[in-house]
Symmetry: C2
Subunit: 330 residues, 2 copies
């Protein structure tokens, strides 16, 4: 048995969550519902503009790994923080959840701080994310430990990480070590605009290395540059052994070869959509590496996502296994 069911690689950051109405978005040039990269000047400006906030550890793949750890899965995370207070918060919350986290912190002399995401949550529960990457942008191949990747049944790569200067090399190193030891590769497309920034690189990786593709409808359409969702799914399933595509209130579509399943969305009051896709992947990957069939993986993913959107913050608060049991999935 490998040491880890899943090892995730992503942008490490702490979320700063504030609730604001729609006019705040227009007045402050915040694009609704997507992730925008911002520099420190903009981060300071936007932070000054938002009301009182809460700080909760985030980071897309880190949320997924936290979910797997919460479920009792053997899991580890790779992502860069600085040796500062936010870095300590990020590391604590991941380790306290039961995940291994051994990435070397950037020193106190690093020019950037630990990354943060200013998440503006509107009354409809939609989240508009403004990310100051900080030191997490500079994760390098040196931060990837081949022996850790070799110990992973699956690695999980965060699409957002395509934005860093050495991120492609870091991913390549991780993939080589993982696959070389018989492991498999999953990736999330993260965001439609992230996809359009790096479409060719994503496509190449998908065609050559990816065994399991996570995305949502908008990312799928962006990836294959079409408005035809079914056409995009058809290409994706021809390129990747397993495709798990979420579709908001329509649940998720799971495709593998000629087989296809649909998992319904859990009916919940949406408080904060932050992390829904992350936790779908968390539930799915935990289920997959625990021996459940693909349909059940999709259904567990949807239940896990439903828990996350019912409260502020992207880390689980209720007992996910209990929720799985309530839905007859365990």
């Amino acid at each position: 048995m490998k040491k880890y069911q899943v090892v995730g690689i992503g942008n490490a950051m702490v979320d700063i969550l504030a609730t604001e109405d729609e006019t705040f978005l227009t007045e402050n040039n915040v694009e609704k519902g997507i992730m925008q990269l911002i520099d420190m000047t903009r981060a300071v400006e936007l932070y000054d503009a938002i009301g009182p906030a809460k700080e909760i550890s985030g980071g897309s793949a880190a949320n997924t790994i936290a979910g797997i750890a919460h479920l009792g899965g053997r899991t580890a995370y790779v992502g860069k923080v600085k040796d500062d207070q936010l870095g300590a918060i990020f590391a604590h919350d991941l380790r306290a959840q039961g995940a291994d986290y051994d990435t070397v912190f950037a020193g106190a002399d690093a020019a950037q701080e630990t990354g943060r995401c200013i998440v503006v949550v509107t009354p409809d529960g939609e989240r508009s994310m403004n990310t100051y990457l900080g030191v997490t942008e500079f994760l390098s191949p040196e931060d990837i430990l081949p022996e850790q990747m070799a110990e992973a049944e699956w690695i999980y790569l965060e699409g957002y990480r395509f934005d860093g200067p050495e991120s492609h090399q870091a991913f390549a190193k991780a993939i080589e070590a993982c696959k070389g030891a018989g492991g498999k590769v999953s990736i999330t497309l993260s965001d439609p605009f992230c996809v359009s920034r790096h479409r060719d690189a994503f496509r190449e990786m998908i065609q050559n290395d990816v065994d399991l593709l996570f995305c949502n409808r908008a990312e799928m359409l962006s990836m294959y540059e079409t408005d035809d969702f079914e056409a995009a799914l058809a290409v994706a399933r021809s390129e990747v052994p397993i495709v798990a595509c979420t579709d908001s209130e329509n649940g998720a579509h799971i495709l593998a070869g000629d087989a296809r399943w649909h998992a319904p969305a859990t009916e919940v009051q949406i408080v904060d959509a932050t992390g829904a896709g992350d936790m779908f992947a968390g539930g799915f990957l935990w289920a997959l590496t625990s021996g459940y069939d693909l349909e059940r993986c999709g259904r567990m993913g949807c239940v896990a996502a439903g828990e996350i959107i019912s409260h502020i913050g992207a880390r689980p608060e209720a007992d996910l296994k209990e929720l799985f049991a309530q839905h007859g999935l365990l």
Copy 2:
């Protein structure tokens, strides 16, 4: 009209909130339901022990001032943070709520960090607080601006601040400047064990300077070293013009001279009791300085406290004025 309805002086800190069961408290020597002072070593040890947490600005008087600002009151806060990430979070959340906050930050070379309180919330909603004071312990008379105190209709002094080395002199300076300009002095006893650490100093201030005393039943009993609640109330009302004593699910008792009122507690599901007393004082002081009678001050205090205990964290999330209106108080 004075610039401020209320200026608060207290220990500035960020709360680190984690939910744990009762066995955690015994296994980690955490005393239930009270505030314990801890050093950095213990803070690190306890932080390592708790599960994933959330960070939300706290500090007893700061919560009160945030509540007054939330209600639209003219208010300011005095308390010490360091120029670090937690300090920036604390300052942001207070200013973003609409309160003035001009206390000079301790520099990056300060030996201590910004204060924090590790709050362990048990399933019954009770909170057990473990406070690393950090730089807030060292608020000195220099941090008290007499011209600001002179601009306050009321100052609000946090009993926890009796613990710092120069805190008594700082309070004396604030009281002198406030009273010299015709302002009034309110104080909260904060905690029964804080009272027993500084009973004589509290008593002297109550007898000589205090116009409005906030406390809860346990603090009142500790203050007057008796088990007889009514006897303690009788002494307190003989020493202070207004006494506002909260009594958990029994609401609050308001006494002024020969008059006495009772304000019922709001019926809510207790999620996290952190900050109930702080927000009682916030609602009460806002009402008092907005011209409402003492009975209504007590009732608004209880409604404000009810909002706070219905969610994690000690800063208001719902619209308190709307809640006052729903309760027929506005």
